[in-house]
């Protein structure tokens, strides 16, 4: 239940973010293992390098903020009426990679326990 809620919140918030650009196509791919998960988001809206850097910075905060993640992280994915807040996601995940794919924006989220190693995943081989 905990894992389902957590994944649902993260997917909801990031979906909210990607839908703000009104894409014609949005693909979400989830791969779960015992100690972690990998979620990929693709759309058909390429972003500028500046936008990519801003997204990267929001999803990969410089410091861990457990006090904010545990308390305010609950708001992630709960409110689709207003602008998405990527920092709510960034505090709760292990790592995020952000780039422009062939068609548009691609965001990969890596999440899991402390033992989780994102190096064990390769997106191409898993989806």
């Amino acid at each position: 239940m905990k894992r389902k809620e957590f994944l649902g919140r993260l997917i909801g918030e990031l979906t909210n973010f990607m839908l703000e650009n009104n894409p014609l196509r949005l693909v979400i791919s989830l791969h779960q293992e015992d100690d972690g998960a990998h979620i990929s988001f693709f759309d058909d809206q390429p972003r500028s390098e500046k936008e990519l850097e801003q997204i990267r910075a929001s999803l990969n905060p410089k410091t861990q903020r457990p006090e904010l993640a545990q308390y305010y992280g609950q708001m992630a994915g709960n409110d689709m009426a207003w602008g998405a807040r990527l920092k709510l996601i960034g505090w709760q995940i292990k790592h995020a990679s952000v780039s422009n794919s062939d068609s548009g924006l691609q965001i990969d989220l890596w999440l899991g326990s402390d033992a989780f190693n994102p190096e064990n995943f390769t997106l191409d081989g898993k989806i």
């Binding site: 410091t63 457990p66 006090e67 305010y72 708001m75 709960n78 009426a81």
Partner: protein, 423 residues
Amino acid sequence: MERTEKSLYTIMLIFIIGLAVMGLALDGPTQTLKGFLHLQVRGARLINDFTQAGAGSAMFNAALVGLIGLIIVFFATISLSGPTIAAIFTMVGFGFFGKTPLNALPIIGGVWIAARLAHKTLGSYSLIALFGTALGPVVTFIMFEMGLPLSLSIPLGLFSGLVAGFILPGVARSMLQLHQGYNLYNTGFSCGFIGLFLSGLLIASNKMEPITIIWNTANESALVLFIPILSLFLILSALIIDGFSHIRETIQALFKLQNLSGRLPTDLFDAGTAGSALINMALLGLVSSLYVALVKAPFNGPVIGGILTVMGFGGFGKTLKNIWPVVAGVVLATLVFGKQLSDPGPILAALFCTTLAPIAGQFGIVAGIVAGFIHLFMVETTAVWHGGLDLYNNGFAGGLTASLIMAMLQWYKTNRPKEDFQV
């Protein structure tokens, strides 16, 4: 620990130790300690101005309450930044009218037990633990106001504090969903919700006493000067942290902060520079003091507590730009309903209504004024509901106001035809 965080620890320690020393110097060590002990063994429900028992004792008590907060942040190994500084300033502020080390610690203990059961660290729940001390009056009410023998009331008070703290994390996280982060004092909203049930229980068992207001009207010069001196200290600290040669960047960052909505969780120390956030806090303190002086309200415990809370949240969501419309709404409501701006209710509402600053920050001046207007008449009602057991009564009223406004705005936003699929 980074250099900036070390500097922030130094600033907080100077602030807390300075306050304690000022307290001891003001009333003399013996009288201060006597007064401090007296504050521990009396009721602390709203509105209980501790400066009535001596400004020095109140200052010393506030400093110790703040020190507890700082120690928890240090040992929980979480960042001393916007949210935690807001929590510590709020604790110090309410140390002037309701919080004591005795009534704060059981609540923190309860949150710690909840964290252990959820397999989390206290650090993860630290903000709830620190802000949750708003329920401290529950402990002292049961210990010293219910008329029970001390052998029974003390363990019962401690146990009640633990229980209140234990249920707080669950409630606090749920209450966030109601207002979506537009009420900065979310823990106050949650404590008020819990307070409703506790008050109901006490009323059912004929143990609830009506609320009384202890309000010191003497303007002691130490209390009048306290906030301006603290604000100047913060400005000086800001310039040292950011570097005197970077004043231009600090000012630019300060202007950038003014454009943020302030919606939870906005850490202004992260969004700008540490110096710009400290100057923002200082400016809020100076402006608040000016307002209190202009309306000729006394600089007593609750008012100082209110200003310190505004200043603390100057690192966690409040800016000069997003607070003024809400304060204007409270002032307008005060005048419309024929009240005095310097009366206890309106002056505290004018300071604490800034909990709704994110509404003005996100939706504009009119929304902020409307929120402030509603807040005034709500806050004068809600204290009775929870019997003054929730010290953050404005957080409770603010939560209700924000929830109402957000429900309406959300309904409007989600029903706009132009965002629907075309027929």
